[in-house]
């Protein structure tokens, strides 16, 4: 047991003395308490989310009303990036790049996984804190530094990184090719290197905590699915993030020290560069070796959260618990051998394309199992349609809609004509963007009482969900059609091609949905910050859930449980079990004589 745990096991009873020891700085800033760190991740993630989504609105406006002058452009981008309020083309690419980076890494990786892994792992497995609270704190602060560096890069003279979030060299390596590849790119790489270190520390902590600190009786097959997904996500992160770090380091070498890992035979600005023998395709391999597992790093925690919330609010056990674990493991394994489906037409050997088509389409099987199990969990339930539950159902819906088009993109043949078009944008925004975001919102609505001891306003939650649900479809559903019409992504304007003139209306429609949808996120932001201070006081177990986190007191204390850590006697999904008066049986309740046992 860690020092914190030890300290607290005989600390209970004189709480007031304990408060004296916590200064503002140790409690709110350099906290080593996992619950506080979770809140820090959450709030940082939210702020980054506001910035990331805000950027997407700016470039969506440019796509819908190309080269028109807007006051908001002038206000946010300034005279340099938007002279006279008209967005410049490199500013557009910069926005696209930073939007992707922020959303994928800072919001959906750190904001989602960082928040809920930190909050729930110790609480749901019955531990006083993470295995290393100190490392956990360092992990958060490195994440924080990386976000600060990324934001600083927005203000450098030559502009932020603009080579797309995938930063393919040579574009990302040569400032001659695009100004953003100067100082902006250097800061991007530094920020990402620090972020990867942060993510690794977090992941190692989660793995060690889940393996070592489970309370008595909490066998691996009694863990809530949330913990399974966080655990597997952390493993994927440890396996794949270092590869991105190596790619980033080699790119730094190419950029700064003249090596030729990724560059060869380049003639630019009227001169031949000295690079010889490197290959941009190598970078693509290294990048996607992280990049593809990364989408599962994003979506798996959302899947875990949704599984948990669906079961709790259906008042039913999650259907096919073992199949759910098996599918998570299958997805995790397959996720590391499918990266090539981003590279079917990169110039790699077409035979490899065949292999990656095969492995990629295989991943549809565990995904389908998950979707069917979620749907069956709802069947004959007694659904409590709380906002968290709505977002969970919404997540299943968008995961299906977005996932299905994966069988087109994962098929090397069909990828030829839709690769890098808006079809891809529609696919991945639905399947990992919106789905993961819904998982995030579901988690926030569900565990807000655990985090802040207060409830979120449910009516604002309902409005938030329904408007978001309609707008998400309104934005991304029509996008499939313009993608299949051959419209490439990352085009500053489509007016250079009369061929695409009949897509202009669709783009306006999409942007209007995006603006309305984003505006209604303010409802959530308001609800969130208002409720932290003025929300209704939460009861100890508001959703009448079986898992351990609801056995801790509403008021946060170091070490989580005032007395001994509870022992676990059953799995996490005994909802509506026949033979019990209540429709839920907490994990801490021992089996009755002769009661049927599931999952030892």
């Amino acid at each position: 047991m860690s020092a914190v745990g030890h300290d607290l096991s005989h600390d209970h009873g004189h709480d007031h003395e304990h408060h004296h020891k916590d200064t503002f700085i140790t409690k709110y800033i350099f906290s080593i308490d996992h619950k506080m760190i979770a809140k820090q991740y959450l709030i940082t993630g939210l702020l980054m989310g506001i910035i990331g989504v805000g950027m997407s609105l700016l470039f969506r406006m440019q796509i819908a009303w190309p080269e028109e002058s807007f006051g908001v452009f002038k206000f946010f981008l300034g005279e340099k990036m938007a002279p006279g309020g008209v967005m410049k083309n490199d500013a557009y690419l910069a926005l696209v790049t930073i939007h992707g980076t922020i959303m994928v890494f800072f919001v959906l990786t750190a904001g989602l996984s960082g928040t809920f892994s930190n909050l729930l792992i110790p609480l749901q497995i019955g531990a006083r804190d993470m295995a290393s609270g100190f490392m956990n704190m360092i992990s958060y602060w490195m994440f924080f530094i990386s976000t600060v560096i990324m934001l600083c890069s927005l203000f450098v003279e030559s502009g932020p990184a603009s080579a797309g979030w995938t930063i393919y060299p040579p574009l990302s390596a040569l400032p001659q090719a695009i100004p953003g590849s100067g100082t902006g790119m250097t800061l991007w790489l530094v920020s990402m290197a620090i972020f990867i270190a942060s993510s690794l520390m977090g992941s190692l902590n989660y793995i060690v905590t889940v393996i070592n600190l489970r309370t008595k009786g909490m066998s691996m097959t009694r863990l809530p699915l949330t913990i399974w997904t966080f655990f597997v996500t952390a493993i994927i992160g440890v396996v794949s993030f270092p590869v991105l770090l190596s790619a980033a380091l080699l790119l730094i070498f190419d950029r700064s020290f003249g090596t030729s890992f990724f560059l060869s035979d380049i003639f630019i600005s009227g001169e031949v560069l000295h690079y010889q023998g490197g290959s941009p395709v190598l970078f693509e391999h290294l990048f996607w070796f992280l990049g593809h597992p990364e989408v599962y790093i994003v979506i798996l925690p959302a899947m875990g959260i949704v599984s948990e919330i669906l079961a709790t609010n259906s008042r039913k056990p999650i259907f096919g618990y073992r199949a759910m674990i098996a599918s998570v493991l299958a997805i995790a394994f397959l996720s590391t051998i499918v990266w090539g489906h981003h590279m079917f037409i990169s110039g790699m050997n077409p035979f490899l394309g065949s292999v990656f088509t095969f492995t990629t389409l295989l991943i549809a099987i565990p995904s389908a199992v998950k979707a069917f199990n979620w749907i069956t969990t709802l069947w004959k339930g007694n659904l409590q349609l709380n906002p968290g539950m709505l977002f969970s159902i919404g997540m299943v819906s968008t995961f299906i809609t977005g996932g299905l088009t994966g069988i087109i993109l994962g098929d090397s043949t069909l990828d030829i004509n839709v690769h890098d078009t808006y079809f891809v944008i529609a696919h991945f925004h639905l399947v990992m963007g919106i789905s993961a975001l819904y998982g995030f919102f579901a988690g926030v609505y569900h565990w807000f009482p655990k985090m802040f001891g207060r409830m979120l306003n449910k009516n604002l939650g309902y409005i938030h969900f329904w408007v978001t649900a309609v707008c998400a479809y309104g934005v991304f559903f029509p996008m499939h059609f313009i993608g299949m019409a051959g419209l490439p992504r990352r085009y500053y304007t489509n007016t250079a091609f009369p061929l695409f003139d009949d897509l202009a209306d669709v783009n306006v429609l999409i942007t209007v949905f995006a603006l309305v949808g984003a505006a209604f996120q303010l409802v959530f932001i308001w609800n969130f910050f208002y409720s932290i201070f003025y929300g209704k006081k939460a009861t100890q177990n508001p959703w009448r859930s079986t898992t351990l986190e609801w056995t801790t007191p509403v008021e946060h204390i170091h070490g989580n449980w005032p007395g001994e850590i509870p022992h676990v006697h059953r799995w996490a999904y005994d909802y509506s079990k026949p033979g019990h008066d209540e429709d839920f049986v907490p994990q801490t309740v021992p089996y009755k004589e002769g009661e049927e046992q599931l999952h030892h």
Partner: protein, 388 residues
């Protein structure tokens, strides 16, 4: 003025939200008040019905999009031989997706509506069923096996070019932000090239000591003979680009430092495509939009837009810099005879470069002969991109 408008919109939105919460509040009349932030029967009812409504919304959105945007996707009328197979596979996948989407979304939202919670109801304790799990594992396995087999069959046909076949070699050359093409000439063999040979009019960096290079022809508009298999050899001189020819269902990245390849056989000339019913309709639609826009522009005192005629295009589809959005080349597919005539009018590269040198020589030779010699010298030990 704009900021005032924005402010008004924000205020109105705020009021709208406030009113909406009032509506939800109204549904609460008579509900138990213990902890009103947890869904009660009224909430379950309202949201259950909304779930059903949302299902209708998804179905209607789908129908609306198919009706309104259904003729946008490139799923028929392909202009290449393999395109038919491609479109076929796309249709099969799309129909499959459509069926699965309709069923699963139907079940999901219908269950959410049907089993909306009610005080006193008890859920069914149903945790496992091996048979069900087996069924919905095996069905995707079978369906995907079919898709994978068809997909790989098509992929192999497209990507692996039969060396015996009678093909024509064309080089596509990408640079920020334009395309060029090089025909192999009489010998149907492209001369070696490397960016280190780039000089003056030799913008593709062709190695002129290679005998195969002499009869190569460099152009900036791509012409292709219909019914002949074209093997494109692609190069890039600076950053990644992607040669995207959507009407031919063709795309391949252009990578600095290596030569990539894609091959297809055009089956429809530009004229045939222009006169195909689908395209006539599309062009009419686009011209209607352009006419409307032109009217607006003229009213503002600006020049009107040209009317649009269809042409095949080569687009760049890999982010390559600020003007990525406007990196295009026109493609003309024509009869073999027209193509031969067009190509024969283009001068051979060996001659073009010789002439350029001759024109330049008297002027520069006397002035800086040493520097000139230096510039032409190329390090022959370095690996050159091998262009077949």
């Amino acid at each position: 003025m704009t900021s005032l408008l924005v402010l008004i919109v924000v205020v109105l939105l705020g009021i709208a939200v406030w009113q909406l919460t009032k509506i939800f509040d109204l549904t609460q009349i008579g509900a138990k008040k213990e902890n009103s932030e947890i869904a009660n029967d009224n909430d379950n009812n309202v949201n259950g019905y909304l779930m059903f409504g949302f299902l209708v919304f998804i179905y209607l959105t789908t129908i609306f999009c198919v009706v309104k945007f259904g003729d946008l996707p490139l799923m028929s009328n392909s202009a290449s031989e393999h395109g038919a197979d491609y479109d076929n596979l796309m249709w099969i996948s799309m129909i499959l997706i459509f069926i699965v989407q309709t069923i699963t979304q139907g079940l999901l939202h219908f269950f959410a509506f049907k089993y909306r919670g009610k005080d006193g109801n008890k859920a069914l304790y149903f945790a496992d069923n091996d048979k069900l799990e087996f069924i919905w594992t095996i069905i995707p396995v079978i369906v995907l096996a079919g898709l994978i087999l068809y997909g790989l069959y098509a992929w192999t046909n497209i990507m692996f070019v039969d060396e015996e076949e009678d093909v024509m070699y064309v080089e596509l050359y990408a640079k920020q932000f334009s395309w060029e093409a090089r025909y192999a000439g009489q010998d149907n063999s492209l001369g070696k090239a490397n960016v280190r040979y780039i000089e003056g009019v030799n913008t593709l960096g062709v190695d002129l000591s290679d005998p195969n290079a002499q009869d190569d022809k460099q152009v900036s508009e791509l012409h292709l003979p219909v019914g002949k298999k074209i093997v494109f050899k692609m190069r890039s001189q600076d950053v990644l680009h992607s040669a995207y020819m959507p009407h031919f269902r063709a795309q391949m990245n252009c990578v600095p430092g290596m030569v990539t390849q894609f091959a297809f056989k055009p089956t429809m000339t530009t004229d045939e495509m222009r006169n195909s019913p689908d395209m006539v309709e599309k062009v009419a639609r686009i011209n209607k939009i352009r006419a409307k826009k032109s009217a607006e522009l003229v009213a503002k005192g600006q020049a009107a837009l040209d009317s649009y005629t269809f042409d095949y295009l080569l687009l760049c589809n890999k982010i390559c810099g600020a003007s990525h959005y406007n990196m295009q080349m026109k493609i003309v597919v024509e009869s073999e005879a027209d193509f031969k005539k067009w190509l024969s009018e283009k001068p051979a590269l060996g001659k073009v470069i010789k002439d350029a040198k001759a024109a330049e020589a008297p002027a520069t030779e006397a002035a800086v002969p040493a520097v000139k010699a230096e510039a032409v010298k190329v390090d022959s030990t370095k690996a050159l991109a091998q262009v077949k």
